[in-house]
Amino acid sequence: MFECRWTYDVERWFDGEHPEPDRVRGHVETCTACAERLTRMQEMRTGLQGVAKHQEIAEPQLNAFIEGIRERVESPRRSYRGIWALASLTAAALIVAIAAFTVFTNGPGTVDATVVESCYSEIQGATVESYSSKDGVTTIWLKVPAAQDDIL
């Protein structure tokens, strides 16, 4: 790229240090190379200003930020270990109890009521009924018609 002999003067003018700024401005308006040089310098300065721009944290924000950190550091740590350990132990105990019940028992136990599956009589005209009392005693009742009494 062509470099004009006025480049140094343009740079000084750009920095506001040239003693004859009107003369340099007049040259830049007629010199393509210096105009491009000036444009690049302006772009560079704009970019640097963007990078150099930093955010400032206001005093109240900083205090709240520090306070938040302090709270998290100093507050007692919430622990779920005890709860989970207890739940795990309970579940394990239940599983063991169910397994033991299944292995060591043979069915639901002898709590079932007496069941009469069938009942009949060979005596002609006789009927056989069954009932259970409130005490759980099952009764089979042979009922013989009076006409058949003599055979008994």
């Binding site: 043979n106 069915g107 639901p108 136990g109 002898t110 709590v111 079932d112 009521a113 007496t114 069941v115 009469v116 599956e117 069938s118 009942c119 009949y120 009589s121 060979e122 005596i123 006789a126 056989v128 069954s130 009392s133 005490d135 759980g136 005693v137 099952t138 009764t139 089979i140 009742w141 042979l142 009922k143 013989v144 009494d149 003599d150 055979i151 008994l152």
Partner: protein, 154 residues
């Protein structure tokens, strides 16, 4: 291992399986003569264990005729003479998973018919648990009834 060894071992296993039959069922039987004579209910001696089983009957006199404990093997008929021409036949059929026992019961009576063949007055199949009481009633006997109270021993 020779074929002979295999046969001997199989035979021994089969014998062990057959000897593994469930033990006989123990059944208590109490024969009671129940009559109506008027007055308050009276239970004769030896009926303390079956009073609750007799409580719902309409009779007022109860006399023990006899009591026995049957040791009845499975799938084999065991019989007991109840008196007055009645006999009780008991055949345990199976033991269920819940501990109950399926039992075939039959009360036979001597027939007055010419052929003399006994009559099955009552035939029933029940499933009963240990300690449970069970009774048969309605069998005519001397102006009253023969009541048979049974229970499966624990």
């Amino acid at each position: 291992m020779s074929l002979t060894h295999i046969i001997v071992i199989a035979g021994a296993m089969l014998a062990q399986t057959q000897s593994g039959q469930p033990p006989p069922v123990s059944i208590s039987v109490v024969a009671v003569h129940a009559t109506t004579e008027g007055g308050a209910k009276q239970f004769g001696p030896g009926l303390e264990g079956v009073r609750s089983a007799l409580a719902d009957l309409e009779f007022d006199r109860y006399r023990k005729l006899g009591a026995a404990t049957l040791s009845a093997p499975f799938n084999k008929e065991s019989s007991l003479d109840l008196g007055s021409g009645y006999s009780l036949c008991v055949t345990p059929l199976s033991r269920e998973r819940n501990g109950q026992v399926r039992i075939s019961l039959m009360v036979q009576m001597a027939s007055k018919a010419a052929d003399g063949r006994p009559v099955n007055a009552v035939s029933t199949t029940i499933m009963i648990g240990s300690g449970k009481q069970f009774k048969l009633r309605g069998l005519k006997m001397d102006q009253g009834e023969l009541v048979v109270v049974m229970s499966l021993d624990r």
